[in-house]
Amino acid sequence: MRLDQLCPDRVALRPPETVMRLARMGSLHQSRLSFMRVLLRRLKSENWRFETRAFEIDARGVGYAVYTTHGPIRSYSLVAFAHDLPPEQRSDRVIATAWDATFALFDGLPSDADIDRLSRNVPLQEAGRVTSTELTVSRANRSVRLFDHVVECLSRGEQPDPAQVDSVGYLMRTTAVYGSGKLGAADRESICDRPEFAAPFQAEMLTVFLIRGFVLDLVEHLASVRGQGKAVKLEPALRRRFGIGNSTGLGMAPFLLNHPILLNNWIKARETALARVRALPAISSGEAEAFRVMLRRGRRNIDDWHSEHPLQCSKIAELKLDLDRLAAHLATGALEAPSPWDALYRWAETALSLEGQELLVALMMEPYGALVDDLPTRMSADEHAGFRIDGGMTVARLRDILENDYAWALGIDWDNPEAQARAWYVSAEKLEPRLGDRYQEPVAAYEQPLAPARDAALLFEALRDEVAETRVADFLLRRPEHRHILRRVQIAARHPYAEIRDNTVGIDVRPIDLLRAKLSFFGACHFDPRSDRWVRINMFRNAPFPHELADMEFAGWTYPALQEEPK
């Protein structure tokens, strides 16, 4: 079945009141549309070349390296600086000031002068400056335990213990990957017309992909220095089981709230993909088999997923039961029914947990690259274009929108202190977003505009005394304090998935739900919340390395391969 043979209206998109809930967004999984997978598909289909142009790292692991990738038109270079970090300075907090390795993604081929300039700035991160020839700035810390184990094993001529590799999953974890103009780097707007950056976060994903290659080269280099002639390299299949870890905290949580049109485009693409698959009248035996294989591989991926966070533990346990239920349901011939995907999804809506439903949505897309892989180019957003307020809108129309699209917010009892127990603010210490207790800490005066539910209710209240025909331009001249939320409401009216339909300042809000939603679109898996406020993930685990891209078949690489299973 091809896209042009499909009747797009056969199955409606899921409504925002179903999709845009924090509990569901906090249960999203990576999919074909995820930005890491979009990147690797492009690198392979366009046959990008990779070369290590410099690797000037000494026996202590200190120095720099340059990894360049050449696309059809342009080249990009990861400039990596490796440092000798005393253990007491190793911190994943954003307020850290030193790291095991620091990186910049350079637009083109850096000269010696560029590398000299970067060597004086990139290791300082926030305390340094880069220029518009740099696309990203990043840093990473070692997983000391696994890093030392791998160097030690390889230097003795042995492979590391696979169980230890899997229990951590990475040799280094990034603690920030800055793009889009941070620290003086190129604005996204200046590069977004390049095809390789049409989908969101491609420069950031390319950075992490190249970092992963560098880190594995680094560990093998240090082993060879230590072991002299005895050292070996990692066995390729085991090598691929290393990803790049990532620690993400509150700083990233407001992102989806601050980019409503972008959020809309991400969710809409995913919902469109789901609707296209559900609209298929039948499944070929090849597609059914591809799905079953991905389901088994998906099961392995879940079996490898460990977390000590009580909430996530119970979600994983429930997800495993979901996959048992799904397998049993498929055994009854579910894929042979008419409109089988639609029927399967409808069954899942009542039979599976949110984690199970959303994993199924991702897996259902797997056999259908030809049907959904066009969607990621629609996931970017020109948010400047949606910025202007329609001042000619009447108060009556604005009230209608609020009553329809924000009924969930107007229905909250805002007089109950628990409804706004939290407040988002920025701390003077490190200029990072924080979530405070409105009644216990002196933060309300500094509140960021990250409570659209409450602000929509306040706007609705303010409109009560207005004449229906009044234009919002006149209202805003008198009541400028509602300008932010009014703009947002108008955006939400044009973009159905722009607004998260939950209270973001209630006593029970969990920032990890916002983090999980965003990171799932990146393509992360094995979400491991360490509290309600920060989460560890793994990126590019099981992916091919740059030198393997051309010759390797890696569709569905996120899911562990099944090579141990007899055919």
Partner: protein, 214 residues
């Protein structure tokens, strides 16, 4: 220091908020300053001047009064952000014969991004004039001609926005709009600082990743 446009927009938004604007107007400020910098004009410097002038003044003193043919503030010069946002909000009223007269305006160059956006939205070309300085705006890059001495004035009036059919050949401003001096940066940071809450032990706890060496 050469800044990215995203840095300029973010700093301008925070500074405007710290200077007392509502979040919605602070967002307008961020976009306006960004537009100026993108077009070679010293957006951050202009904003620093505006925030210095308006520091502590209530909104009601700075906004256009709704009576009268000429937009004027109740006391002192109009705030170009408030007036500019209103021009954009009323863009659909701006037709081919439109004339908008404003009294004295603080840092009138800050009106230009709004007039440009209104031009784009209304599909009408505008001339924006004050004290011998004219901007020709058709939604594309701005063209200017006239008295350059009036470009960066701290206040001017009257200011006139008229629709125009003529295409004017003017110059672009020759400087780098992304260069932000240490002094401008310090002034804007001073205002931005007012939006940050003092850190407490409670705010640090559980905010981000810990010191785990696994």
């Amino acid at each position: 220091m050469i800044c990215s446009l995203n840095e300029i927009e973010a700093l301008a938004r925070k500074a405007a908020r710290g200077g007392g604007m509502s979040w919605g107007l602070a967002e307008e400020t961020g976009k306006a300053v960004r537009w100026l910098s993108d077009n070679g004009l010293p957006g951050p410097w202009l904003l620093a001047e505006l925030l210095r002038q308006n520091d502590g003044k209530p909104y009601s003193d700075l906004a256009p009064q709704q009576s009268g043919r000429i937009w004027a503030a109740r006391r002192g010069p109009l705030c170009p952000i408030i007036a500019g946002a209103l021009i954009c909000d009323q863009a659909e009223d701006l037709h081919a014969e439109a004339v908008l007269r404003l009294g004295e305006v603080a840092v009138p160059l800050l009106l230009v991004p709004f007039a440009s956006e209104a031009s784009r939205a209304a599909g009408v070309s505008f001339a924006l004039k004050w004290r011998g300085m004219s901007f020709f705006l058709d939604g594309g890059p701005p063209r200017m001609y006239g008295e350059e001495a009036a470009l960066l004035v701290a206040k001017a009036g009257p200011v006139e926005l008229t629709s125009t059919g003529e295409c004017v050949l003017g110059a672009a401003w020759p400087s780098s709009g992304r260069h932000v001096t240490a002094e401008t940066s310090r002034l804007l940071e001073h205002f931005a600082l007012r939006t940050y809450a003092p850190a407490t032990e409670a705010s640090r706890a559980g905010a981000g990743a810990g010191q785990e060496g696994d």
